[in-house]
Assembly symmetry: C2
Homo-oligomer: 470 residues x 2
Amino acid sequence: VDKVVSSAARAVADVPDGATVLIGGFGVIQGWPASLVDALATRGPRALTIVANTPGVGPLSPQRLAERGLVRKLVASYAVYPTQRAPMGDGITAGRIALELVPQGTLVERVRAGGAGLAAFYTPTGAGTEAADGKEARVFDGRGHVLERAIRGDVALVRAARADRYGNLTYRRGSRNVNPAFATAARTTIAEVDEIVEPGGLDPEAIVTPGIFVDRVVKTEHAMDPATLLALSRRYGKQWDLEARERPVGPRGLPPDLMARRVALLFEPGEYVNLGVGLPTLVSSVLDAEQGITLHSENGMLGFGPLADPGTATDVHRYNASGQLVTGLPGESFTDSAEAFAMARSGRVSTIVLGGFQVSASGDLANWRVPETGVGGIGGAMDLAAGRARVVVMMFHCTRAGAPKLVPRCTYPLTAERCVTTVVTDLAVIDVGPSGFVVRELAPGVGLDELRAVTAAPLAAAPDLHAMEF
Amino acid sequence: VDKVVSSAARAVADVPDGATVLIGGFGVIQGWPASLVDALATRGPRALTIVANTPGVGPLSPQRLAERGLVRKLVASYAVYPTQRAPMGDGITAGRIALELVPQGTLVERVRAGGAGLAAFYTPTGAGTEAADGKEARVFDGRGHVLERAIRGDVALVRAARADRYGNLTYRRGSRNVNPAFATAARTTIAEVDEIVEPGGLDPEAIVTPGIFVDRVVKTEHAMDPATLLALSRRYGKQWDLEARERPVGPRGLPPDLMARRVALLFEPGEYVNLGVGLPTLVSSVLDAEQGITLHSENGMLGFGPLADPGTATDVHRYNASGQLVTGLPGESFTDSAEAFAMARSGRVSTIVLGGFQVSASGDLANWRVPETGVGGIGGAMDLAAGRARVVVMMFHCTRAGAPKLVPRCTYPLTAERCVTTVVTDLAVIDVGPSGFVVRELAPGVGLDELRAVTAAPLAAAPDLHAMEF
């Protein structure tokens, strides 16, 4: 049973108009089955439904299909990047492409369910938010859940590291992500790989996708090396780093690196911690080894180290959920994204650090969409918050326009209800108590009255209110 | 974060009365976390709920807990072995132990859902059978489904091959089985391993259970080697081989090995095939390599070879779902049991060969319980049949008492409705057509009238009815 096909063009030659195509990959610019996507774009079947974690950025991503006008609908956890115009986002904005926005963990779980022959499941993710609109709700064990339907595709395009001729696949580190789940859930699964070996050439205990799920194997024409990634990153990806550190207009306060340090001091020794997109990623670089913190990322990395220097990093497959390259540590491990979200949803990730647009006095969090600026992206935050771990929000105290982000009630769409434990801003550390916000610490030089002036909800002072400590 | 604990006794010291204990392991005598089970039995918390694939056989299995009178309830896919008296079965029969019998794939999926923070899921497995009694039913895409609730435990006891001090685990071949899912779904997960290494000592790409799920690690006091397995097998396990070949009372017919050969000739080149417990396991030893058949087993083995000689086999971890040792082949791969059932339920396993107690003229199959002889076991057959693959039943034409097994309607509890495509018996090859049974081939020396005399349902003759070919 030799599943190797001689070219990407031959592998996708029978994808018809109207097909549902699952596309593996997680990040922004790296990790896509680029040869298969390109061959599909060249062949040109129309009215495709694309299921992908994100539409990506740049010519090696699913954007290529939207650029050619082949996409009728996108099912994804992100749709439009805030600082990047791209064909998929333009098509959505113009109404040419329909959009189904799905929480990231729910998306990969829906595809996994499709691949497992299940019809639907109840998840706490998104209960009480826009993501539950139009879906059946039900209470289990006193808690709201949402009924989510399985997803299957006509075709799955996945990217793996190595394959044997039977279609067995291995992956590399964070590049495993949604690929294993997506590979299980299509009538025809096509794998693009860096290397093809004879049966027996892969360690059978390290095979992640068994050949039974794979119909065709193609050698990639787009191997990803550090130089390529750096060039693409300079062209398409650089804003991900810059955004996080950009200071808003507003009163004086801590620089982001000190905010990160203050967040890190909240952790208990030995905790498993997830750092969300944006400011929270800075925390990975200020952890003390003695804290024994294990970092978790939604693409399936556990136990990684500080951010890597993109200019000198040699490993393009070790990246966090924001697509930033990170370093490795002894004892690290890799899973697929479905299992990464299982860790979070079941509460094994004990502290989650998320960015925020608004936090309400009852602990509601809004961090995925500013209605005035478009469709945004849910990402993984809803799933992370669903695990009832401690949720720390790390954000600037005010928007760039100077508007308060601590509010009586959120006016933006919610990420999760009553989930936030603590907020660390550039001005203060604030707990969410039973009666609302309680200021615990003030940044150097910031007074309580000054803080209240830039906060839209009442702020109580903790009995032991003191200056922020590092 | 050093998770290594000095002894099994210390690792289970805080398990309270009334706890729900998930116990990993799949087979009959091998692969149990025997040191932990023994320590728990010695400590003696009472009124335990045990969740296990099967209760096992012998002193290294969960039977040990029932022997000490510590079990209030068993949740499992098998409960009582037909030819083996054991404490768990005796307790169930006497009404001292409550029993919740669950299809094997549903059981591991329910535990996986618990570990993934999901509340429930809809599966086609068991729809229309006793396994669906008292559960919510619902039609998705025109097909009956059953709502199954997630399972979580207070404690999980799992058996792995190697651990590092962070609790990362690797497994060996078929011994992976339900352990990875069970490890995710308890408040406290305790792993018993053959070897403990420093962080960095395991290949991060081959770690199956990341340390985030594991709270304690203990070195086993019951390493399983071929000599130990052979001794146990002689004492407790030998009947599994013998049963399969025992000829019933009845008319002359093919010996089991020729039945197996006839079944093998039904396969298309390149098929993925599952062989059920009993007679079907014989098929693994009569396949031609040129057929390119890949064998699938519910414990998570794919691409294995013929049955091994238990007396000379050197690998105790390569065993099929019947617990029989098998040989390896290049290109084999291993997954956990949840993924093995995903392959079956989603239809990627294209032919399923099952034993049968009764097959009805409409293709209903009963193969898990004879009401007169006790509670039996559902095993994996319901999940395998749920994938709408071709289902071939391989069975003797009559019971040992001479009663017909091809019947107008099944009187025994069903495994699945309208699932059987073809029946291969010692007397004939019979298709299940839209209007009932159609005899396609007769065993040498067997006449159509003789066959009708031992069949309780009408038998049509195929236009090209002929002698069985090999």
